[in-house]
Amino acid sequence: MAVAAIAVTAVGCTLLVLRPALPALPGDPTPVLLALFGLLFVAGVSWPLAHEEPARRSNWIGVVALGVVAFAVARLVGGGHPPQPAVARLIALNLVAAVAEEAFFRRLVYGALAPFGVALAVGGSAAVFAVVHLTTYGAWVLPVDLAAGLLFAWQRRATGSWTASAVTHGAANVLVVL
């Protein structure tokens, strides 16, 4: 089972790393992107985990609120203007990306690493999440995405579910274009 988890994680991460090559394809890369995120989502939500943690609904809202506030503060601290206009297509794609990546990194990767310890699950899922974005955005974004990955992983740990980090990640991706 571990070998299968390694293989699925490696394939999913490699596909994310190769995203900068998409524009070289003929035509609009949006369908390919949607297919990629669809694959990640299906793999993430359907992967059989050895022992699922029970979801802790009581603090779900507080955990999400804390994450959203952190990303909102970072948006204000970061300043500047949005890099792209907030068109519906971009917002929708960013939301799809957020949900798919959280299913993949916080359910599959975190859940598969959890038997080895919480520290490895939190740190490992955050590290892989940060590394796969290097080719799209450059090495200098590694600290920001690593810290964000730790925050998402904490949300996963605190709620026992990947949905809190998915909602927070979606909000963060929308904040990028506002």
């Binding site: 490696a10 991460c13 790393v17 995203r19 524009p23 500047g80 949005p82 990306a97 490895l120 955005y137």
Partner: protein, 262 residues
């Protein structure tokens, strides 16, 4: 009582979360200071942009090129001037942001129009300092909607973001008439293929680069993504190694501890 090492006892998860959230904000703030760039809350999303749309494509992109988009956006202008506005082309190659009051109030006018049109830079005057055009020039017209009276200079400057096909040594120039260029204080914003500068009023805005970078057709036309071929392969291999190590190392450590009786 250890949040990091126990599967069962997790005291104060919110307190731990506050610490991690604060750490994240501090990292974002430090990145702003150290990189000298505006920092987005998260470098994630849909991924690279669609291929760059040229007015006059280089020969290697002539077959697949799609023409760039234009836009006309209307802005309300009240007693305090215009409202906050972000007007961008639907292909996301040009974006103008205006703060509140950027377009001053004018008698008889309650709306202004922002028009963004891509222009072939070869139709404009040569660039200063031996620079070369880095993609299309963009003609941006701001004028009151009723009288068509132009707004040559904004009351408060906004910002402009252009997508560029060549990320290396990018800059930006502006010209009121396309003849005399002024170099702007431009910087990469959010991604290597996006460059931003102050937007002061109507005119032509053009991203530039060193001509030597135009010789690498592999970069041109992508409009997105920072990875060159070698870099992507290195990161891909490194990611797979990291993934394998995440599973293999703890198993190896457990075996070693078991063998040594720890």
């Amino acid at each position: 009582m250890c949040w990091w090492c126990s599967e069962v006892t997790r005291p104060g998860p919110i307190r731990v979360g506050i610490v991690i959230a604060a750490l994240y904000v501090m990292v974002a703030a430090a990145t702003v200071q150290l990189s000298g760039r505006h920092v987005r809350p998260l470098y994630d999303g849909a991924g690279p942009a669609t291929p760059y749309r040229w007015v006059a494509p280089p020969p290697e992109f002539a077959v697949t090129n799609a023409p760039p988009k234009a836009i006309e956006a209307l802005v309300s202008v009240g007693e305090a001037g215009s409202t906050v506005t972000a007007a961008g082309t639907s292909d996301m190659q040009a974006l103008v942001n205006l703060p509140p009051g950027a377009i001053p109030t004018r008698a008889g006018e309650d709306t202004a129009a922002i028009r963004i049109t891509a222009v072939d830079p070869a139709r404009l005057e040569a660039l200063p300092d031996g620079r070369a055009a880095n993609g299309n020039a963009y003609r941006i017209q701001v004028e009151y909607d009723r009288s068509r009276h132009p707004v040559d200079v904004l009351a408060t400057e906004g910002s402009i973001v252009l997508t560029i096909p060549h990320p290396e040594q990018a800059g930006m120039v502006t010209s009121v008439d396309g003849r005399t260029w002024t170099t702007l204080d431009a910087a990469s914003v959010g991604a290597p293929t996006l460059i931003g500068a102050a937007f002061t009023g109507s005119g032509y805005y053009l991203a530039t680069t060193d001509p030597s970078h135009l010789a690498s057709p592999a970069d041109a036309g992508t409009g997105g993504g920072s990875g060159n071929g070698t870099g992507v392969v290195v990161v891909a291999v490194g990611t797979v190694v990291l993934v394998v190590a995440l599973w293999v190392l703890p198993v190896a450590l457990r075996r070693r501890n078991r063998n040594t009786g720890l």
